[in-house]
């Protein structure tokens, strides 16, 4: 290292640095226009002048060209230096009087007017662009031409250059923002489009694919990176390598082949959107304001190309009239299926657009609005109330009108009238396709695909591919929404785990730590480690100053700076410092605890300290990166952040890692397909199961399912499932039994079972709720009064016995569903009706069959059967909820009257048989079980999971899981998937040796607690109970916290008026100390 003096302060630097670099690193501002860290210094702008003194002799020189030398004295702010810089600035200002960059840098050194004759140039001839083009990019498409005052930068002969790669580096480095690129490039330069922003924004050649990418590491796009585009021996660019202080850039990295020994494979290659250019009539790719749904999703996103302001691409204007067109690339000849998710995302887009700009008029053109998921119809209702317009039509064309990019949609409305309407923006709800690379993967694995390209699976083995041992999940099996995908993923994991049951845990190598030192009685001895994070922090914040400041804080025994505190050698140094300086608290000032706290806590454990004796100051993500242009203020803020962390560190305590024993058995409530599937999935992995069924036999609702689309026999499946369940050595089946009471909590439940007066108590670690649902017994449409009126389930039984003799049959859909009383869709009835219709047509091809419906919701692949049914002559007539069909008994049968909205007149159908698709309704006993388990029901009285999308089989209460119809209406295939998923989630718990609950949880301070119980109700985990005990001869009330249930959210401590309860590690006095430290001026 070389020692020098800058403005009276000592500094040290590596020998190859220039004075400019060292000054800037020390936070001293030196103006410069022609300097760029990726290029050798050039000394053209002369703004970086400083005074250097060596051996008593001083001179004014360009600091960018002057290397540091031992004993050098540098003065950056003497009168002479400033005066010279001002003259240089005046010269530059005279050359480029209208350049904002020059004006700004001149103003900074106090020059606003030039005394020299003005020229109207836009280029200061700094040579950055020519140097970057020739020296870095090895291209040489532009250079200086002419001499003296005719000198300028241009491509040869001032014509576009065939050498130019249009990489844009010249434009990027230019301090005055002159666009040479257009002139130099033979082809019009185009930005590299960001895949994540669906082509609506640009991205560099080296980039982090999206903000939440895991791992959050940059990748190089070798297709556009100049280093890779140029011949290897040229060794072009490599600017990123120069900037990356961590040395993470490796241009030689190659694809590696790794051999793995595995027992099961799960494939989840996902989907992509259909190529909209197939629907040329909608103008995608042709008109800028026709967007795909994915693009619009990005437009709506706060981190999207317009920062969450809804704009249209053509002119950046905020659109007032937006249209969504549904089923683009779905439900058509070449994609004879429904993509299942587009209706709901279109509704979501509409509501979000209205949230962004309340005045927006949003129109959705749709065929059937398929809001079939849990809570979806209510959401659809909300959109209608919010003024979203729904038009039942499939538009013919979209065309652009006028210059500004407005669009006209032509469509035929339901009445058969031609309409055209203008919109500012059109969004195409694009259908799903299997990902391009999925086919290659499937081929390589020897997994069969269907004609439509999706992976072949069967409804009763929905997670198995055609090859044993290869499981499949996600949208590669069929288009589906997030919750179904999550369920399939968990289910596939459980299926894989069953295959690997014997090997479970055999590859886990436990890590050993030294015994933990007891530091409880000691005065805090704090070590502070401040990270430069390369230039990320050190480039803005004066790290040495922060370290110096940290040393001055109370209880700080040691402080040091690291280039990267998280690097292996820094970690070793930290362990050593803990040892040497007997540190008992550690503060790291670096990045965010959300990513790095676990690493540092582990280092503490390795050094024999409790991991909770650690605190972090986030001086990168929340300081240097967000105050990049204010180094002084950022340094001051960093000092404050370190002060706050130290203040907390003085008060933190070791928290013992707690472990609790757990019972490895599960209780499954409900013996239908869901319950049996879950029980078997657990038992096959070796866990004991108590399966409780209140009826005298297993089977549940599936006993009524006679047909499946692909011809598999559900009754055969069911009887095999029952046999396997009854015969499994790990499953204890309790028939004719109900749950009478549940005590305990995750890992340790005790349940009383009651059967015909007999009681039994079982112990278990987890509960799976699979209590099923019922079919509504309606009184509508003469059901129960006329024997010609059946429910769909009853009809199915008759069909299976070939007892249907009717010639004209009418089915009514949505009986009891999607009504005020039951505002949800029963999801399975549309497919069931069509399945039965096809069966009937098979048995009685000449029968007349009418299906009266509101929306046909044959999502996914069942759409093809809807088409088949129409081809076979089944007639579908839509009705509006306000003009429901009227049914009356006639002499020889039934008479149905219905208003056909297309013909707009009443139709009369005389029929022999009326079949009602009645709603799926929750079971009556749900509330009781819910209370026993302390889990919620939704407003439709189905069980309510922890998160509708992301945690579809978990409850917020740990150790309790959910599957089957008790969750919401669903078909057999979905039930099997969800049951396997519930077993999978239960396995994550049951497979543990012991439970290790969160350590930072609430603790009652008995002497402060007077038992007012304010905290008990707000606790979301029911972890608190009011207890009484005898104290000094009197009854003392106090609250008890259940350590297994508490998650440390701290709602209790914020509720308590008496400091009677707090959360460890986030105690009020600890937070208050942090706040107080924040307020030090």
């Amino acid at each position: 290292m070389i020692n020098l003096t800058i403005d009276g302060q000592k500094a040290s630097a590596a020998p190859d640095r220039s004075v400019l670099e060292v000054c800037r690193q020390s936070g001293i501002k030196i103006p410069a226009l022609c300097y760029h860290p990726a290029l050798p210094a050039y000394g053209a702008c002369r703004l970086c002048l400083v005074e250097v003194e060596e051996r008593g002799r001083s001179k004014i020189t360009a600091s960018c060209l002057f290397p540091v030398r031992e004993g050098l004295v540098v003065r950056t702010n003497t009168d002479t230096v400033i005066q010279r810089r001002r003259i240089m600035a005046e010269l530059l200002l005279a050359r480029c009087p209208s350049s904002e960059a020059v004006q700004a840098i001149a103003a900074e050194i106090g020059v606003t007017e030039s005394r020299f004759p003005k020229k109207n140039e836009d280029c200061i001839l700094c040579g950055l662009c020519t140097r970057v083009c020739s020296e870095l990019m090895k291209t040489g498409a532009i250079d200086f031409t002419g001499r003296g005052n005719r000198r300028k930068v241009q491509p040869a002969y001032n014509r576009s250059s065939p050498l130019c790669l249009a990489c844009g580096a010249c434009q990027w480095v230019c301090p005055t923002g002159v666009g040479l690129l257009e002139k130099a490039s033979a082809r019009p330069p185009r930005p590299i489009l960001s895949e994540f922003d669906a082509g609506l924004a640009g991205r560099p050649s080296i980039y982090i694919p999206y903000p939440q990418a895991i791992p959050k590491a940059a990748v190089i796009d070798s297709q556009t990176c100049v280093h890779f585009r140029k011949a290897r021996e040229l060794d072009a660019c490599k600017a990123c390598q120069q900037f990356c202080q961590a040395g993470a850039i490796d241009y030689e990295q190659q694809e590696e082949l790794i051999d793995l020994d595995i027992g099961a494979v799960v494939i989840a290659p996902g989907f992509e959107l259909c190529d909209h250019t197939l629907r040329a009539e909608y103008g995608f790719g042709q008109y800028p304001n026709v967007l795909s749904s994915l693009q619009f999703e990005r437009v709506l996103s706060a981190s999207g190309p317009y920062q969450g302001i809804v704009r249209r691409p053509s002119d950046g204007r905020e659109p007032q009239r937006i249209a969504s067109i549904q089923c683009v690339g779905s439900r058509e000849e070449e994609a004879n299926y429904c993509s299942s998710v587009c209706c709901m995302y279109a509704v979501k887009h509409a509501l979000m657009a209205k949230e962004h700009a309340p005045g927006v008029e949003y129109t959705i053109f749709f065929m059937d609005l398929r809001a079939f998921g849990k809570g979806f119809d209510a959401y659809y209702q909300r959109a209608q109330e919010a003024g979203v317009r729904f038009v039942r039509a499939r538009p013919a064309t979209v065309e652009q009108v006028g210059e500004k990019g407005d669009l006209r949609i032509k469509y035929l409305n339901e009445r058969g009238e031609f309409k055209d309407e203008e919109f500012d923006l059109v969004v195409l709800s694009a259908g799903m396709r299997p990902a391009m690379r999925a086919a290659e993967l499937a081929h390589r694995l020897g997994v069969a695909q269907g004609d439509n390209g999706y992976c072949l699976t069967r409804p009763l083995e929905p997670l198995a591919s055609s090859r044993p041992g290869v499981l499949v999940c996600g949208t590669f099996t069929e288009p589906k929404d997030i919750p179904e995908t999550v369920m399939q993923a968990s289910g596939a994991a459980a299926s894989a785990m069953a295959m690997l049951a014997e090997a479970r845990g055999t590859l886990v190598a436990p890590k050993h730590y030294p015994p933990e030192k007891d530091v409880s009685g000691e005065e805090p001895r704090i070590g502070v480690f401040v990270c430069h994070c390369g230039r990320n922090i050190g480039g803005v914040v004066n790290v040495p100053e922060v370290v110096e400041y940290a040393r001055s804080l109370p209880n700080v025994e040691y402080a040091e700076e690291n280039l990267y505190t998280c690097s292996t050698d820094s970690q070793a140094k930290m362990r050593q410092a803990i040892e040497e300086h007997r540190l008992n608290r550690v503060v790291v000032a670096s990045c965010t605890p959300r990513t790095h706290e676990p690493l540092f806590r582990d280092t503490l454990r390795e050094a024999g300290l409790n991991p909770y004796l650690f605190e972090m100051a986030n001086i990168r993500d929340q300081c240097s990166w967000v105050h990049m242009h204010e180094p002084e203020k950022a340094t001051r803020k960093s000092r404050a952040l370190v002060r706050m962390a130290v203040a907390k560190a003085r008060l933190i305590e070791a928290l013992a890692e707690r472990t609790l024993p757990l019972n490895h058995d599960a209780l499954v409530v409900g013996g239908g397909v869901a319950g049996m599937t879950a029980a078997l999935a657990l038992a096959d992995q070796g866990f004991g199961v108590h399966l409780v069924e209140r009826e005298s036999e297993l089977g549940g609702h599936a006993q009524h399912v006679r047909y499946l689309f692909d011809g598999q026999d559900p009754q055969d499946f069911l009887s095999r499932l029952v046999q396997r369940t009854l015969g499994h050595s790990k499953i204890a089946t309790h028939l004719g039994t109900r749950v009478a009471g549940i005590e305990g909590f995750v890992g340790n439940f005790k349940t009383r079972l009651a059967a015909n007066g007999d009681g039994l108590e079982v112990e278990h670690g987890a509960v799976i709720v699979a209590t099923g649902a019922e079919i509504l017994q309606t009184s509508e449409y003469l059901y129960g009064q006329n024997e010609r009126v059946l429910t769909q389930v009853e009809f199915e039984q008759k069909l299976s016995r070939a007892e249907v003799a009717a010639d004209t049959i009418v089915m009514i859909q949505c009986v009891g569903s999607r009504e005020t009383e039951r505002p949800y869709c029963s999801r399975l009835c549309c497919a069931q009706a069509i399945r039965n219709a096809l069966k009937l047509k098979e048995q009685r091809p000449r029968a007349n069959l009418f299906v009266l419906y509101r929306d046909i919701r044959t999502y996914g692949f069942s759409e093809q059967y809807y088409r088949t049914a129409r081809e076979k002559g089944v007639r579908f007539i839509r009705y509006e909820p306000e003009s429901k069909p009227e049914v009356s008994a006639a002499e020889a049968g039934l008479q149905i009257k219905i208003r056909d909205p297309i013909l707009n007149r009443m139709l009369r159908i005389d029929c022999d048989l009326l079949v009602l698709s009645t709603a799926v309704v929750p079971r009556a006993g749900g509330q009781e079980l819910a209370q026993m388990l302390k889990v919620p029901l939704n407003q439709d009285r189905f069980f309510l999971e922890a998160h509708l999308k992301l945690r579809p089989v978990d409850f917020a209460t740990d150790g309790v899981f959910l599957c089957g119809l008790a969750h919401s209406p669903k078909n057999l295939e979905e039930t099997i998937v969800q049951a396997t998923a519930a077993a999978s989630r239960a396995t994550t718990l049951l497979a543990k040796e012991r439970l290790t609950p969160e350590s930072a949880i609430s603790q009652v301070v008995d002497e402060n607690c007077d038992g007012c119980a304010y905290c008990i109700d707000p606790c979301p985990y029911h972890a608190l109970t009011l207890i009484e005990y005898m104290k000094g001869g009197a009854v003392k009330k106090t609250v008890e916290a259940n350590e297994a249930l508490c998650k440390g959210c701290g709602v209790c401590q914020a509720t308590c008026p008496k400091n009677g309860i707090f959360v460890k590690h986030y105690r009020i006095d600890q937070i208050a100390a942090v706040v107080e430290a924040a307020l030090v001026p």
């Binding site: 903000p211 981190s303 920062q307 965010t592 967000v626 105050h627 701290g1050 709602v1051 937070i1071 706040v1075």
Partner: protein
């Protein structure tokens, strides 16, 4: 040079799961906002006792923010809604202490809303700057 403008100190209680992550995302996205904010990481907006807010204001904070997950997104189910209820009470306390209501705010910022985080911080700093120093600030 003109007279130095007033630099308020804002204490922002940010929940670990959403808002603190949103603040990190603002960082990774290099979104600039004024350096007047001091983020205090808490596990949930629902753990912030009103006393902490009032103490901060009494001891010289010029403004206090509580930032949590959007309703429905709370990691602990409904902690943010509890925070919302308490915010109403805090509003009443401000009046008793003779403080302007603008000195305290409750905001929802999700983990993916880096731009929103930067915006909320900028707005708060500017709003408090225009109010001037807190009357409780040590002279």
């Amino acid at each position: 040079m003109s007279e130095e403008q007033f630099e308020p100190i804002i204490v922002a209680f940010c929940c670990n799961w959403c808002s603190y992550a949103g603040a990190d995302l603002a960082g990774t996205s290099r979104l600039q906002y004024p350096p007047n904010v001091r983020i205090v990481r808490v596990m949930c907006s629902g753990m912030v006792h009103p006393k902490l807010v009032m103490d901060a204001l009494n001891k010289g904070a010029d403004g206090v923010l509580i930032c949590g997950c959007h309703p429905g997104d709370c990691h602990y189910l409904e902690g943010n809604l509890k925070a919302q209820k308490r915010a109403e009470a805090i509003g009443l306390l401000l009046e008793d202490f003779g403080l302007e209501p603008e000195r305290f705010r409750l905001e929802w910022v999700s983990a993916s809303e880096g731009p929103r985080f930067a915006q909320v911080m900028t707005d708060m700093v500017e709003a408090v700057r225009s109010l001037g120093p807190s009357p409780y600030r040590a002279a």
